[in-house]
């Protein structure tokens, strides 16, 4: 495996964003969101696509993600807006961007040694600020219902924050069967989940510290539309038939072509047959030294 030379952060969509608000508008408007980042020994490749059901009903993509590499840490945030919420796409874009910005600020501000408690506080502060901003604009919070999955990768630890459904996985073995997972938390029924826009959301926030990614190892965070073919058959590990070729390709390729290939895979006919929902996956690889 040959790692390409390190380069600066590259956003593919939106192209050359001028500001956070530009990012939000673009993330909501486009049917596909791609991102390829590399730096400090991390490679982050993300893709988010509108699902078959949303395409056929003329509904916008309601998943969103945001990612960054800052001060030797890799961050990724994935949100899945509720289909029943009128501003679900905006909610997913706003909350993912708000949490990412807070983590970037924390990392740049010397908080790189933060504990899981501090990580939790940063996530709560960012979400609360975003909730307050939506209310201050006179917009109904419940129309912005969204889940939240956050991954912060450091060379000695991985942090996860999770509200609602979706999946985060940190691979511990080369055969993908051994992995630490953060599984969905739903109500009794699979299609009824919890959101950061609900009053008791902090009670549903699950934060944990997981082992660090070793060189050549991978973590993923994803929305529930992607989950059926990424999670392993026993729901305990990751699916080798998906993770092995994807990781081989993303480690070997990188950059825009890697993100485009990931998007093509998530949007393939077989993937769409398995789930008609929006599909988002952010792949975080630790490059071999």
């Amino acid at each position: 495996m040959t790692a390409p030379p390190e380069r600066n952060v590259e956003d593919i969509v939106p192209a050359a964003p001028a500001s956070a608000s530009t990012i939000l508008e673009a993330a909501v408007a486009v049917p596909v969101q791609l991102q390829a980042l590399e730096g400090a020994g991390w490679r982050v490749i993300g893709a988010s696509l509108r699902g078959r059901d949303h395409v056929s009903r003329g509904i916008e993509r309601q998943d969103a993600f945001a990612a960054a590499v800052v001060s030797s840490m890799a961050f990724a945030v994935v949100c899945d807006g509720a289909g029943s919420a009128r501003c679900a796409a905006a909610g997913a874009a706003r909350f993912s961007q708000a949490v990412l910005e807070a983590l970037k600020h924390e990392a740049a501000d010397g908080g790189i040694r933060f504990s899981v408690a501090r990580f939790r506080d940063v996530v709560i502060e960012a979400v609360e600020a975003c909730r307050a901003a939506i209310k201050a604009e006179g917009l109904p919070l419940h129309e912005h219902h969204t889940t939240l999955l956050v991954l912060a990768a450091r060379t000695d630890a991985t942090f996860i924050a999770h509200v609602g459904d979706g999946l985060a996985g940190v691979a511990l073995s080369a055969d993908w069967t051994e992995a630490k997972l953060s599984l969905p938390e739903n109500g009794e029924y699979a299609n009824e989940t919890v959101f950061v826009t609900e009053d008791d959301w902090t009670e549903r926030l699950r934060c944990c510290r997981l082992p660090a990614l070793q060189p050549g190892r991978v973590a993923v965070i994803l929305t529930d539309g992607t989950m059926p073919f990424v999670i392993g058959p026993d729901q305990k590990g990751l699916e080798p038939g998906f993770m092995a070729p994807v990781s081989r390709h993303l480690f070997a390729t990188g950059g825009v072509p890697a993100a485009e290939a990931l998007a093509a895979t998530l949007g393939s006919p077989d993937a769409c047959r398995i789930s008609g929902d929006d599909k988002t996956l952010v792949w975080i690889g630790r490059l071999a030294v």
Partner: protein, 223 residues
């Protein structure tokens, strides 16, 4: 852009939607000729559910028959839609609707228990009741329990009245005021096509997404 080579896309997580159908096997279904239409409709349902992979893998069906001397018979235990074969419903006897709904509620609870024990994700189960005549048992207490169970989000109930003699008030008493419909004795095909499309929509519903049912055909009218 080409997809990543050699990727195996397998469905490792299936969310189940358990559906119980209570069908009317009383004598009046024979007298009106509706029983033949019901059986043809069930065969249509079995065929349509297999047309879509999500539905065939996600929906599970059980069928209870009311008939004989106030008897409730399980014609089909819970089975994947992919493996569902329409049973033949015979028309002979009475309409013990209360007993049938009571048994359906027990079936649903037991199925949910099996899902939980096996770590299987599931959606809120559906119960469809279809009848052309007045219930012949003590159905009112069961109707009250069914309403309470729906309030507690234990399942969603659809009530379908068949023909001019349909027990509309009794059927309505099992619901919380909505999802009550009526069809003619010859309208089973349209009703089962709509039921299949609804089950298909229900099996695909993502988290936080209200299930948008397909448009109701004109044959399936409001009560």
């Amino acid at each position: 852009m080409d997809m990543i080579p050699d990727v195996a896309l397998k469905r490792n997580k299936v969310e189940r939607l358990a559906c119980v159908l209570i069908v009317d096997g009383s004598s009046s279904m024979k007298e009106s000729g509706a029983i033949a239409e019901l059986n043809e409709g069930l065969r249509t349902l079995a065929a349509l559910l297999k047309e879509d992979d999500d539905t065939a893998d996600g929906v599970q069906i059980a069928i209870l028959r009311m008939g004989d001397q106030d008897a409730v018979t399980e014609l089909t235990g819970f089975v994947d839609a992919a493996d569902f074969t329409a049973p033949v419903v015979e028309a002979n006897g009475s309409t013990p609707l209360g007993q049938a709904v009571e048994q359906a509620m027990r079936l649903i609870e037991a199925q949910k228990q099996r899902y939980r024990q096996n770590g299987i994700s599931y959606k809120r189960p559906w119960l469809w009741i279809m009848s052309d005549g007045a219930p012949t048992d003590a159905w009112q207490p069961v109707a009250a329990r069914a309403r309470a169970a729906q309030e507690a989000r234990q399942f969603t109930l659809w009530a379908i009245g068949i023909g001019k003699e349909a027990p509309l008030q009794a059927l309505k008493a099992f619901t919380n005021g909505d999802r009550c419909f009526r069809i003619g004795e010859r309208d089973f095909k349209a009703m089962f096509e709509w039921m299949s499309a609804s089950m298909s929509a229900g099996s695909k519903g993502a988290a936080g997404q209200q299930v948008t049912l397909p448009p109701r055909p004109p044959e399936v009218a409001d009560l």
